[in-house]
């Protein structure tokens, strides 16, 4: 005989404004085994918790039903209340009368109230069947994995390493540094990007707690929070990095020197087949591009490959194979960064029709003194002089056909570029910025915008419809300036398009591998947009930087430190309470068919032979690994596998309760 207490939350007007809570309270009081029922405005608050606690004591309640929001929201909150009142937390059942009722049936209050009663009846029926469950614990591995070696990954790795944790930092390119390494200056301070980045890159290479894997990718992730088993694939560089000292003689000698379009310069510059992405690479070790190298593609390189000939350390190794490294970590931080939207998708802007129509990242490489043109502007089509440059903002951003979100950094980036152009090329150059809104929201940003307005930049508030290429190669477009209400025709030598930002290619596959969700915009989804910006739907996995959404460097660094801090809340523990609603096998019913084992995502089920039997096999659940997802129970054909807290008879009771109600 149980003594059930039913607590119904108004949730302000979220529930109370639609559902007749008093009516539901009265209904609940009349249910069998319900000893006490009441309503309250905000059940999750402190007074709400005290109300439950006091009622438990006063009415000697031993099973609690809370009808409120989704358990995903506040189940832990109410479970803590039960523990405070010396009840087992699994004697709680929640009825979701908000997300599943009042929020979706706003226009039909009668039906919403009736449905709430259904849901409460079901919860009460379940509450009758609830049993206290024991908690299990698992050991936490005090090491961390960071995926992505841009500024986000670097910052997170350094924070974790400095707090004493061992960190594996995995980066897909041969060097860490990411997008920030490609920048010339950063807004609004105009710091040299490399100058502020490279010290951090050096810190990564020197920190004894960081094990750096570049030119590597994560290929498999198993396990769960506190204990992830990860496979890292080290792609072959065809150079023995234990021997290579980064002298660079190989690249100078390479038969394909200055012939391969290089990714670091957005294909505007050239490199050899054996290369480092940039001179400040960390690690400063050479890599052979297997798609370019003659030796690797064709089996021969002239009479003898020059790189091998000049390398005094005998570091070239064409036979090198990929290898897999297994690591065991307690948490993972994903920091995979961003790509640009392909500007050719907006065909009318001519990106594919003229080499002088470029993206802002390509422009960054051109204006950078260490870039392919030494920082000098000239027309890419014919090397001609540049007398006019136009920037077109929002190419594919704030666009329902392409990307409907704002890229956050486009406006500030263009202002920065205007400044750099004026600085490099002097007063003779015409600089035009076609904008819809200038978003200069951060610290020092508005002041910077003011500075750019002062250096004779033509701000045109309007958006061109199309860009045409004249016979002489110059670019011409019409744009209506809504401020002066004039249709202006602009002829420029270079047009810089500022495209939308999208997640890095490969992020989707990685997300599936680590099992974190993405939002409608394709970026990884945080647990809560306001209060949990770096957690994800999977415990123990955090996100940081632009892989969560476009943002500028200060926000990236702050978020990376935030993710490291969140990761430390797990790594600082020795054990974690693991799930109590684990699966359990009824040995009398189990035939050892083995259907359950492969469906378990966490490897928690093994089919074992029963001792002293005639080879009888049964399934066995490792409660330390079980996450309580219930898939095995639904896969089991005989009903031998059941999940504690969600057994057949418990769910059947709920169904009977609702189907026996009068409509």
């Amino acid at each position: 005989m149980v003594r059930i207490g039913v607590f119904i939350c108004h949730c302000g007007t979220n529930i109370g404004g639609v559902v007749d809570v008093d009516d539901v309270v009265q209904f609940a009081s009349g249910l069998e085994d319900v000893v006490f029922a009441t309503g309250y405005r905000y059940m999750c608050s402190d007074p709400g918790g005290r109300l439950i606690n006091d009622s438990i004591k006063e009415h000697e309640l031993d099973r609690i039903v809370v009808a409120a929001c989704s358990p995903r929201m506040h189940e832990p909150t109410f479970q803590a209340v039960l523990v405070d009142a010396d009840l087992n937390p699994y004697c709680l059942e929640m009825a979701n009368i908000r997300e599943h009722c009042s929020w979706v049936h706003k226009n039909d209050v009668d039906e919403a109230t009736r449905k709430s009663k259904d849901l409460v009846a079901m919860a009460v029926a379940k509450a009758r069947t609830l049993e206290p469950l024991e908690s299990y614990h698992k050991n936490v591995v005090h090491e961390a994995l960071v995926i992505g070696g841009g500024i986000a990954g670097i910052q997170a790795a350094l924070d974790l390493a400095e707090s004493g944790r061992k960190v594996y930092l995995v980066e897909r390119e041969p060097s860490i540094g990411g997008r920030m390494a490609q920048l010339d200056k950063t807004f609004p301070t105009l710091d040299c990007s490399s100058c502020i980045l490279t010290p951090k890159m050096m810190d990564v290479s020197r920190n004894p707690n960081i094990e750096l894997y570049t030119y590597s990718e994560v290929v498999d992730v198993e396990g769960s929070v506190g204990d992830f088993k990860v496979k890292i694939k080290r792609k072959p560089t065809y150079v023995d990095w234990d021997k290579c000292n980064g002298c660079g003689e190989c690249a100078l000698a390479c038969r394909l020197k200055d012939r391969i379009p290089d990714e670091f310069n957005e294909k505007l510059g050239k490199r050899s087949a054996i290369y480092v992405p940039f001179q400040q690479a960390v690690p400063l070790k050479y890599t052979i591009d297997p798609n370019a190298c003659l030796m690797l593609r064709l089996g021969k390189c002239g009479d003898s490959p020059p790189c091998k000939d000049v390398c005094t350390l005998d570091a070239i190794d064409y036979g090198q194979k990929e290898s897999i490294v297994d690591v065991n970590v307690g948490t993972i931080i994903v920091a995979t960064g961003y790509d640009m939207l392909d500007a050719a998708e907006m065909y009318e802007y001519g990106y594919s029709r003229s080499p002088d129509i470029i993206t802002n990242l390509e422009f960054e490489r051109l204006i950078c003194s260490s870039g392919p043109t030494g920082g000098k502007m000239h027309r890419l089509s014919d090397g001609g002089e540049v007398k006019s440059v136009s920037f077109i903002l929002c190419v594919g951003s704030r666009d329902k056909d392409l990307k409907d979100y704002c890229c956050r950094i486009g406006c500030m980036g263009a202002l920065k570029h205007a400044y750099l152009l004026r600085e490099h090329e002097g007063d003779g150059l015409e600089i035009n910025i076609c904008y819809t809104d200038i978003r200069s929201f951060g610290k020092g940003y508005e002041e910077f915008y003011g500075r750019i307005r002062d250096i004779e930049t033509n701000f045109i508030r309007g958006r061109p419809s199309e860009i045409k290429v004249q016979d002489d190669g110059r670019l011409v477009y019409d744009v209506f300036d809504t401020t002066t209400q004039k249709l202006l025709q602009v002829t420029s030598d270079v047009v810089v398009l500022v495209p939308a930002l999208v997640p890095r290619n490969g992020a989707e596959d990685l997300g599936r591998m680590v099992k974190i969700s993405r939002g409608a915009d394709g970026f990884f989804l945080e647990s809560h947009p306001k209060l949990k910006p770096v957690d994800t739907s999977t415990d123990g996995i955090f996100i940081a930087g632009c892989c969560q959404g476009p943002k500028d460097i200060p926000d990236v660094v702050a978020q990376a430190s935030g993710a490291a801090s969140r990761a430390n809340t797990i790594l600082s523990k020795d054990v974690l309470a693991s799930v109590s609603t684990v699966s359990v096998v009824n040995e009398d019913l189990c035939s050892g068919c083995g259907i359950c084992a492969p469906v378990c995502d966490y490897g928690a089920i093994e089919i074992v032979e029963v001792a002293d039997s005639d080879g009888k096999k049964i399934a066995e659940v490792d409660v330390a690994l079980c996450k309580g997802c219930g898939v095995c129970a639904s896969a089991c054909p005989s009903g031998a596998m059941e999940q504690k807290g969600f057994k057949c008879e418990q769910l059947s009771a709920m169904i009977r309760a609702v189907s026996s109600r009068d409509s």
Partner: protein, 176 residues
Amino acid sequence: MTIVDLTSMAKPEEKQQDRVNVIVKALNEDVPGDCYQCGKCTSGCEAFILLELEPHKVMALSKSGFIDELLNSKVLWTCVTCMKCKERCPQNLAPVDVIFALKNVAVASGKQIHTGYSNMLQAVLGTGYIQKPKEVVGRENDTATRDGLGLPPLPQPKDMQKLQQALMKAATETLR
């Protein structure tokens, strides 16, 4: 609404706005609310340079409810229906369709339209076509007629009266 345009003393007209929006929505288009005035439509408008049509301004005035000003404006009738505005709008709006809706409301409110248009309507009501087969002149100043060229007779609606009645009903009842 308490808004007044101090130049003309006009106020936003919600009823007129509704009449326009009903037509726009019936075409499966969004009403002008989402427009953020980027101006891409006007930048590419084929009628702007010669005839000063500013689609973004039509959208802004429609959004604010100054419909009479638009109904009385001649720019509505300068739209060449190139549809570049609809094609390129980043908010998937259709200034061309808002302009058509405004024209329809103008006609329904009794505004004068070009006789050419009413002639075409009369012709369709009478014969089902906007004009009768013409005699044309070729490059060498030779004349030709449909029958003379041996082309088959023009297909005709079987019952013109029924068509007229149906059209008149459709005109008043379909878009409310």
